[in-house]
């Protein structure tokens, strides 16, 4: 079932048509198998790169797709409707490009950003640490200058694409100043001294690798410092809203998938002589699910359009992230309810959706942090 969308032009419609086709033909058929096997679909991500979908929101001049967030986020939602893991890969990859696109020199943009936006290289984003989650400034990973190089030591945690990425956008401490002592670096994935923990054994998104990343005297060229020394915290904060909107769009896409599955099932499944959607108790549950999906999409697009218009979207992005991920938890839980006992089995995708969206209330700023951000603007 296609989602009727309001899009700015014919090219955006053609883009969404392309994403829908790729989602239906290449992503959805593999999702259950690869998630069960915990197998990262690197080939699918490469195909998304070849189709030009890994650099959509960045300027054409640096190799991106030149798309507004209004369009990029709907493409991301559409990918997630087919399969959350490649959508998350896209969102994390786009986030990993943010520092280079916004703060990189022309030389860095050509050398480091171009191959990422073209989809030739996969990016990861290394900010969190075991003891520095919501409190980013508590990080202890260090970088020290040695001639023409920086040497990095420390451990990052919860890194999506750990062990698979070609490029790690890494934040590390360059002085003791709590916020102005953090700098941003691009660390090539094949750097000596870079190692990875075993993939976390997770509740959901099991095809998306999440590992710790260890930096043990990792030497990188001085030219891989992005922005100024001490500018890392500002760079990380600048990317927060975009990252949150990406997760909000993915949560909306999985919600839509859960709604689609529940509606289809409710039309087919008969009890007491009629399809269960004709029983008001179920029909109203489905109506509430559809309402939540509509709410999620509306708040995501409102924030996206404000961002595209150049407004400060800190509050709008947190509202979108909070709304879309809490709604996703509710909608996927209700989808299991619609399927009844079958919904609790792995024969149907809805229990997987429920497991996949739980983490979306946690990462990219827990929903408690989102409430903190929102309340501070009041």
């Amino acid at each position: 079932m296609d989602v009727p969308r309001l899009l700015p032009d014919d090219e955006a419609q053609a883009l969404l048509d392309l994403v829908t086709t790729i989602g239906e033909r290449e992503l959805r058929p593999r999702a259950a198998t690869d998630e069960a096997a915990g197998s990262f679909p690197r080939d699918v991500v490469a195909m998304l790169g070849a189709s030009g979908l890994l650099g959509l929101p960045y300027p054409v001049e640096v190799g991106g797709g030149g798309q507004p967030y209004e369009v990029y986020l709907q493409a991301l939602e559409e990918l997630a409707r087919a399969w959350a893991t490649p959508a998350l890969a896209t969102s994390v990859h786009v986030l990993s490009c943010h520092a280079l696109a916004g703060y990189g020199t022309p030389e860095q943009q050509e050398r480091l950003l171009g191959p990422l936006l073209a989809g030739d290289r996969l990016g990861a984003y290394a900010l969190s640490e075991p003891q520095a989650g919501s409190d980013v400034a508590a990080m202890t990973t260090r970088a020290r200058r040695d001639g023409d190089e920086w040497i990095l030591d420390g451990t990052k945690a919860w890194i999506t694409h750990g062990g698979h990425a070609d490029s790690y956008t890494t934040f590390a401490r360059t002085s003791e100043d709590r916020t102005r002592g953090i700098s941003c670096f691009v660390v090539p994935g094949n750097s000596p001294g870079l190692s990875f923990g075993a993939p976390e054994s997770k509740m959901g998104l099991t095809a998306s690798p999440t590992t710790t990343v260890n930096y043990d005297g990792v030497r990188i060229p001085a030219d891989n410092l992005v922005g100024e020394v001490g500018q890392g915290m500002a760079i990380a904060l600048d990317a927060l809203d975009s990252g949150r909107l990406g997760i909000a769009a993915i949560a909306t896409g999985v919600s839509q998938a859960a709604l689609d599955a529940a509606v289809d099932y409710a039309h087919e499944r008969e009890q007491f002589g009629k399809p269960i959607i004709r029983h008001q108790g179920l029909a109203f549950l489905l109506a509430d699910m559809a309402t939540r999906v509509g709410q999620s999409r509306a708040t995501v697009l409102d924030a996206a359009r404000r961002r595209d218009a150049g407004q400060d979207v800190s509050r709008a992005a947190s509202i979108a992230k909070l709304t879309a991920t809490d709604n996703a938890m509710a909608v996927t839980t209700d989808a299991v309810q619609v399927f009844g006992g079958y919904g609790y089995t792995r024969e149907f995708p809805v229990e997987r959706y429920m497991r996949e969206v739980k983490v979306m209330q946690i990462f990219e700023g827990t929903n408690q942090i989102q409430r903190l951000v929102i309340s501070r603007t009041l």
Binding site: D10, E11, A14, L15, L18, T21, I22, M47, A50, S51, G52, L53, L56, V60, G65, G66
Partner: protein, 261 residues
């Protein structure tokens, strides 16, 4: 090398097709339309030639103004330009009339090879490629499941029920390809963005020197006398296993009866 890929706008293959009761032709405005899926295989062969030899690839579409979205879809695969022939007089043309228009459009441009899909998903006659070759007095290499160009020589594997024949000729030539020939790629988003800036040459029948009376419904060699909607799907046969594995035998018997095996 110059390659022409004729493409067609067809009703969405997943949707229901509607026949206009008065004209007895398909109502092309009744539902969603798409680039004919078989054309994607022809486009893929052309894109491969472009990658290998730098060939210039032009799409050719016969159709009304609204068909430009189909042209843009075809161009989004990275092709170089398009020719559209549009004229109210073309409406209702049968395969021969369509072939006359395509042949006239091809006679107006330079090319080395024309690559068709072997049939369109709406009419499925498979007549047009051979008719175009005949009208232009060019070699006709149809039903290709493999094609290779070396200098001005072309070799195809022509598919038929028992296998395939190896057919060779010189260029220029007209080829039609079957779906087994390749696995079409997806368009690239940059190709989608670039499609709108590719040159589009719009021509009328008069531009091509085609007599409007020689095409269209009035001059069609084929006449539609009657049509009926597809009958509703009959109830299927349910094979039940009694626990002894009998269903396998029953199923095999049924398949033999239906001549599937």
């Amino acid at each position: 090398m110059k390659v022409i890929v004729p493409v067609k706008r067809v009703p969405d293959t997943a949707g229901d097709k509607v026949i206009d009761a008065d004209t007895k032709t398909m109502d092309r405005d009744a539902g969603e339309t798409v680039l004919c899926p078989v054309n994607e295989f022809a486009i893929e062969e052309a894109v491969k030639l472009k990658e290998a030899t730098g060939a210039e690839v032009t799409v050719l579409l016969i159709g009304p103004d609204g068909a430009q979205s189909t042209i843009r879809k075809a161009l989004s695969y990275g092709l170089d330009g398009a020719i559209q022939v549009t004229d109210d007089a073309i409406s209702g043309s049968d395969a021969l009339g369509t072939a006359r228009v395509i042949a006239a459009a091809l006679a107006d441009v330079e090319f080395d090879v024309v690559i068709f899909g072997n049939q369109s998903t709406d009419a499925r006659t498979s007549l047009v490629p051979a008719a175009v070759a005949e009208l232009l007095d060019l070699p006709s290499l149809t039903y290709a499941r493999f094609m290779e160009i070396d200098g001005d020589a072309i070799t195809v594997h022509r598919e038929h029920e028992e296998g395939w024949d190896v057919v060779e000729s010189t260029l220029p030539a007209v080829v039609s390809v079957v779906e087994a020939i390749n696995e079409p790629r997806y368009p690239n988003f940059k190709g989608i963005m670039a499609a709108k800036s590719k040159p589009l040459d719009v021509k009328s029948l008069a531009d091509l020197g085609v007599d409007a009376a020689a095409v269209g419904a009035g001059d069609a060699a084929a006449t539609m006398y009657a049509f009926e909607p597809r009958p509703p799907k009959a109830a299927g046969t349910i094979v039940t296993d009694d626990g002894s594995g009998s269903a396998a035998d029953d199923l095999a018997d049924w398949m033999e009866e239906q001549k599937f095996i």
